[in-house]
Symmetry: C2
Subunit: 350 residues, 2 copies
């Protein structure tokens, strides 16, 4: 019997409604695999910010540093500026815990229509996004504020170790999947960092001679993701390009409302964090109608990361078979099921 | 009778095949509107680079500075690095002639299928891309080349005048169209420049109180462009965001192969440049099968910029009616017509 300690951060809005289903699913699948989960719940959120002036306590990161993983619901609430809720919680966790891989699986699921006329179950790829440096560096600022010659600068910073490690993760993933790798770039233009990225991709490709790869400029690539999503297997991109590609790809697959994300520290020196991509959804919060699939799929990714790919696959198979074989849906997918009813079906399938 | 001097730069590959049709269409529509065009053709291209070591002569920009407009085919050829062909021709023209607006109309055309299941003729918007500063600045470089601590940086630079002028253009466009404006941003994250962009958008909105506007984060925005393209009217974005959005939107509309682009200096202090978005297409060059619509649509945008919206509309109506009412297509759209045959049909319609 293996025991894991999981830090639960429900956050705001429907974040608090989708974590209990994820937890129930984890417990159910865990029983069959000799895994047990101990949960510590943290009330870090915009609500806490309003009450106490901070999204999390000063020693917040220390309190979860030794957990095996973090499962997050959603953060953000009207009236609390994004930079407060994100910089006060999500971003410190990603950066201080060196979660340099943001992993987003993209699949067209049976029973969840894609907006593309021709997209089928062949669409099955992952976006590997660099998650701690690149275009989203903390370096930059503003000059001559309020004057006609005002300006703002933002420094994109790409380091050799920072790029190499995410490329190694992406190539390893492509090798494991037996697929190919596409690197998102923009080295034909005026960006000094992208030729460097390309060089490091070529070097990494040398370390993985069995993996076929190519590069595509980001503008052409977003078009191809729409025109022929089935041709992709692993796409690796910088922090910004990966951010854009992962939401775009989820939309193409029809699954933006149930997409999961893993923020990984592959070395396991720090806990990794798993989060549904949907936000806190103030408009439907508190009604018990949230779709729990993003959180449940995220929990499945957590199982995989903890070294239990079979348990992970069982969770995935359970909810995809419910989607494929029943018409039961939550409101976001055009149905009338409550979070609870829908979760019960998935628990039965697990 | 108004006379214009047009600089023609056919460039490489099919660039040389699509400009003659555009020119024939301009002459035909011009006759009806009392416009005549004098053309000067420049052989600036990768072929010239191979023969003479430069894409254009040292005084190239001076030779076209006093033309009324530039019509460009395509530049780029295998064996000539992109940075040579782009920095040696396209980018200097955009930057030295202060073509700070890159305008890309997005339309689902009758007879040209969109990859989206539900997209219809309601899709009709423009992307206004900032075209000379922002993320594609020339500032940045590389440190410790080849060593483990190697790094590369790229500075995104946003200036108040640089942003204000493109926003004014975008808001003016939205007002003229009677539509609304969406600003692409990413100010929820870690990018110092985007809150500044947002402030300038709010200021610009104050100058155009009759224009409804909103902002969307780029990751969510690319998803919405796929999920509901009909809801957009004018999207304004920085150099990088606009670059990504314009190719994405053209793909969504099914028209990546026939999309036009205008690089505008709205003040007309310098010539503006009009170019089809497709490249030089080495694989089909020399066969007389290139689709001339990107160049012809670009010529229509040129007419509009020169102050002849009716002539521009006639060109647009001519080729869209050929697409809608005949099954004649060039190979890229699944047909068998040659460039010449297809152009003849359009000339008849004009
Ligand atoms: C070729 C490249 C430099 C160019 C750009 O990024 O501006 C192209 O993508 C475009 O959109 O015109
Ligand atoms: C909310 C925002 C800061 C975040 C990001 O850009 O990383 C989000 O878009 C994501 O993809 O997780």
């Amino acid at each position: 019997n293996t025991r894991y300690r999981i830090a639960l951060i429900p956050g705001d809005g429907i974040g608090t409604e989708v974590l209990p289903p994820a937890r129930a699913v984890l417990d159910a699948v865990g029983r069959r695999h000799g895994l047990s989960f101990g949960y510590d719940t943290f009330d870090w959120s915009c609500a806490r910010y309003r009450a106490e002036g901070a999204m999390m306590p000063d020693d917040g990161l220390d309190r979860i540093r030794h957990h095996d993983a973090v499962l997050l619901g959603a953060v953000g609430w009207p009236g609390v500026p994004d930079h407060v809720s994100l910089w006060g919680l999500l971003i410190p966790i990603r950066r201080q815990f060196r979660q340099y891989v943001n992993l987003r699986p993209i699949k067209v699921l049976d029973g969840v229509p894609s907006p593309l006329a021709g997209a089928t179950g062949d669409v099955d790829f992952v976006v590997v996004r660099e998650n701690v440096e690149g275009e989203y560096s903390e370096i930059g600022g503003r000059l001559n504020r309020g004057f006609p010659d005002e300006m703002a600068v933002q420094e994109a910073v790409f380091t050799r170790p920072g790029v190499e490690r995410v490329l190694d993760y992406a190539f390893t993933t492509a090798r494991r999947r037996g697929g190919d790798l596409v690197s998102a770039t923009k080295s034909n233009g005026i960006v000094h960092t992208m030729p460097f990225w390309d060089e490091l991709v070529r070097e990494a490709a040398g370390r993985f001679p069995e993996v076929a790869w190519r590069q595509e400029h980001i503008d052409a690539l977003v078009a191809k993701v729409v025109l022929d999503p089935a041709r992709f297997d692993v796409i690796v991109g910088s922090n910004l390009f990966g951010d854009i590609l992962s939401d775009l790809a989820a939309a193409v697959a029809g699954s933006i409302g149930l997409a999961p994300a893993a923020n990984l520290n592959p070395e396991r020196a720090y806990p990794s964090m798993f989060e549904p991509v949907h936000g806190s959804a103030p408009d439907i919060a508190g009604q018990g109608t949230a779709n729990p699939l993003g959180a449940i799929w995220s929990a499945s990714m957590m199982l995989d990361h903890l070294g239990h790919p079979e348990a992970a696959a069982e969770v995935f198979d359970a909810f995809t078979s419910v989607l494929a074989m029943t018409g039961v849906r939550t409101r976001d997918l055009g149905g009338t099921a409550s979070t609870e009813d829908f979760t019960r079906l998935i628990l039965e399938a697990v």
